[in-house]
Symmetry: C2
Subunit: 352 residues, 2 copies
C-alpha cells in the first residue's frame, strides 16, 4: 500500500488471468485459446503491410473494421464499437452504463472480471446464485438494479441460455442496459445480436480472441443500438482516441473475410469437444453440457486441485479455480485432437 | 443524450484528436507524427513473426519490452509500466493517483486531454494560467492539490522547462504524484527520468508515437518508483490484463535496439525545425522557441483560422485550436524538408 495511491486503488482486487508461463512449452489448455492458427488471409494481409505506415496514427474510428462487422451482423456501422480486446470493451461498458447507485446483477459464477470492474468504478456488485447444475434462472434478475451482465455461454461452466431467456432479461429491465458477453458464442450458441432490432437496451459483446484465433492481437467489439454505441464512444474518446492499432485493424478485416476458415475451425473444435466430453465421462468425470471451446468437468474423487498440479508438472496446463463452489472442478480448453488425446491418456493413467 | 448513459457519461466532453482524413493525400502536419518510417529493424522483426502465434494471448507483463526500457533508462523492470499508447497510460495514471477530493494542477494551456480525463474520473481540474510568452512558473504549483501534471516540452507551445524546475515541482508536492508527460522530450529536452532516484513521487510518461515513428502501433510507457508502478498495475489489471498486443511488443523491442536510427531521425527533425523556424520568422511569423517536433507560430495579421482552412484546401493540414487564447496561432508539425518547403512556398504566396 502506498499513500500515493488513491483510496479506490487501495481497495482494488485486480483480476488474475490464467497463467501465461514463459518457462517451457505446455499443452496449454488453460486460457481458452484456439488451437488453430488464424486464417491464412490474416498472415497474408499482415505480410502485405508497409511498416513505414506505422509512423501514422491508426484510423481512430476503425471505419473499415466496423463496416465489415456491420455487414456480417446486418447492422449499421453506427451500431458497432471496437476496442483493444473485449476486456477493454467490457470495462468501458461498465463505466458507460453501470456506474449508478443501484447494484449490478450478474451470475455469482461467471467471468471473474465483473466484480473487479465493479471495484474499479465504485459499482455495487450483486452476484446472484446459480440454481442446481449451475443454471441461470432469469426470474432472479427482476427488481431494481443498475444493469445486468452475463456471459452466454456462461464461463467457466460452458452452459448456454436460449435466446428467449435473453429476451426475457431485456424485457424485465427496459430502463437498464443488459449486456450479453458472447466470448464463446461461436462454439454452439445463437447470438443475441438477432434481438437487437427489438431491444434498444441490449448490448452484445464479442471477441476475436477465441473463435478467430487472434488473442495475440487484442480485438473485441460491441453491437447495440446507436444510443448505446454513442455512450461507449463518449467513454472511449475520453480515455484513448486510438485504441485499436493499424495492424490489428487490418488483420481483423482479413479474418472476417474468410468465413470458410472460421467455420471449419469452430466445427473442428465442437467435434473435438463432444468426443472429449464422452471420453471424460467414461473416465468417471461429471461433465457439464458445453456450448463453448472448453469443458467444465468434475474429476472422480473430486480432488481437482491436485490433478491440476500433477498435470502441470507433466506439461499440461488446465485451469483450476480455488473457490469453495468451484474447487472440485476443472476447466479444460479444447485443443487439437492430439492435445486432448495426450490429456486423456494422462488422466487415464493418473486416475487408474 | 440517452437515459441508458450514466450521469457521469452524460457530462463528458470527449477529446477531439487532430483530423485523420481518409479522403485524400495531405501533407499531414497536424498530429505531430514523425515524417520518417520506423527503424528497418521493426519491419524485419514484424516480417519474421509467425502469425500462427497470434492465436495465443500476448505476454500480459510485456516482460521483454519492459526489460529493454529498463536497460535504456538504467532502471529496474519493476519501475517500468507499458500501455496501449501514452493516452491510455495517462488515463490510468489519473485514476491511480489523481482521483482525490483535492483539485489537480496543470497548465491552462497544455494537452487538452487532461481536463477530459478529469471529467471521466470525477477529478476537479485546476488549470493554472501561463505567464507571458506561454511560460510555466513553478511558483504557481504550490498549495494543496491532488497532484500535478504537465507536458515537457509543453504542447501545443513546444516550450521546455529545465530539469531544476521539474525537481522544484517534485519537492513542492512531496505527498502528491507529479507527472511529467514527455511525449516530445526526444526532440530537444532532458528527460526527468534522471530525477527518479531522488523523487518517489515523480512519474515520467513517454511514447513510441513521435520520436520512434510508431503511432500506428499504440505504445506508451511510464517510469517511476516501484510503488507508483505497482499502483498503475493495480489499475491496469482491473481494466485489461493484456493491453499491449504481441506484434506491438516485438516491434517496440526492435525499435529500442536500433539507437542509431532513432538518433538520426530526431537530429534530422531538429535541424528541419530550426531551419523552418527561421524561415517562418522571415515571413513575419512570431515563432515560439520549440524543443518538440512542432512549432507554435503566429502568422502576421493573426488570421490563423483562415490560413489553416486555405492550406487545407491546398492539401496541407496544420492544427488550429479555436479557443480565445490560441485562436491566433498555428501548430505546425515538422515534416520532411520537402514537406516544409511546400508549406513555406504556400505561405509565402498566401501572405504576399
Amino acid at each position: 500500500m502506498s499513500d500515493f495511491w488513491t483510496p479506490r486503488v487501495r481497495c482494488l482486487d485486480p483480476y488474475v488471468p490464467g497463467e501465461q508461463p514463459q518457462d517451457q512449452q505446455y499443452i496449454k489448455l488453460n486460457t481458452n485459446e484456439n488451437p488453430y492458427p488464424p486464417s491464412p488471409a490474416v498472415a497474408k494481409a499482415l505480410k502485405a503491410c508497409d511498416s513505414a505506415r506505422l509512423r501514422l496514427y491508426p484510423d481512430p474510428e476503425s471505419t473499415a473494421l466496423r463496416a465489415e462487422l456491420a455487414r456480417r451482423f446486418r447492422l449499421d456501422p453506427a451500431q458497432v464499437f471496437v476496442g483493444n480486446g473485449s476486456d477493454e470493451v467490457l470495462a468501458q461498458a461498465f463505466q458507460a452504463f453501470f456506474q449508478r447507485p443501484e447494484p449490478l446483477f450478474f451470475p455469482a459464477i461467471s467471468y471473474s472480471f465483473y466484480p473487479v470492474y465493479c471495484r474499479l468504478y465504485g459499482i455495487e456488485a450483486r452476484p446472484l446464485p446459480l440454481r442446481g447444475d449451475f443454471e441461470i434462472d432469469t426470474d432472479d434478475y427482476r427488481g431494481e438494479c443498475g444493469g445486468v451482465i452475463l456471459p452466454n455461454p456462461n464461463a467457466p461452466t460452458g452452459r448456454l441460455l436460449p435466446l428467449d431467456a435473453i429476451e426475457r432479461l431485456c424485457r424485465q429491465q427496459p430502463q437498464r442496459v443488459v449486456i450479453v458477453d458472447e466470448a464463446y458464442i461461436d462454439f454452439g450458441g445463437d447470438s443475441a445480436a438477432a434481438l437487437l432490432p427489438r431491444h434498444p437496451n441490449l448490448l452484445v459483446i464479442q471477441t476475436f480472441s477465441k473463435s478467430r484465433s487472434l488473442a495475440g492481437l487484442r480485438l473485441g467489439y460491441a453491437l447495440g443500438s446507436t444510443e448505446l454505441i454513442e455512450g461507449l464512444n463518449r467513454v472511449k474518446n475520453s480515455f484513448n482516441s486510438y485504441p485499436v492499432d493499424s495492424l490489428a485493424q487490418i488483420a481483423a478485416v482479413a479474418s472476417l473475410q474468410d468465413e470458410a476458415w472460421f467455420d471449419d475451425c469452430r466445427q473442428r473444435i465442437i467435434a473435438t469437444r463432444e468426443r472429449c466430453a464422452e471420453a471424460l465421462g467414461r473416465l468417471g468425470f461429471r461433465v457439464l453440457p458445453s456450448a463453448a471451446n472448453f469443458l467444465f468437468a468434475r474429476p472422480p474423487g473430486g480432488n481437482a486441485g491436485e490433478l491440476y498440479r500433477t498435470l502441470k508438472a507433466r506439461g499440461i496446463l488446465l485451469r483450476h479455480f480455488a473457490t469453495p463452489e468451484l474447487d472440485a472442478w476443472l476447466r479444460i480448453t479444447i485443443g487439437t485432437d492430439d492435445d486432448m488425446e495426450r490429456l486423456l491418456d494422462s488422466l487415464a493413467e493418473l486416475l487408474d
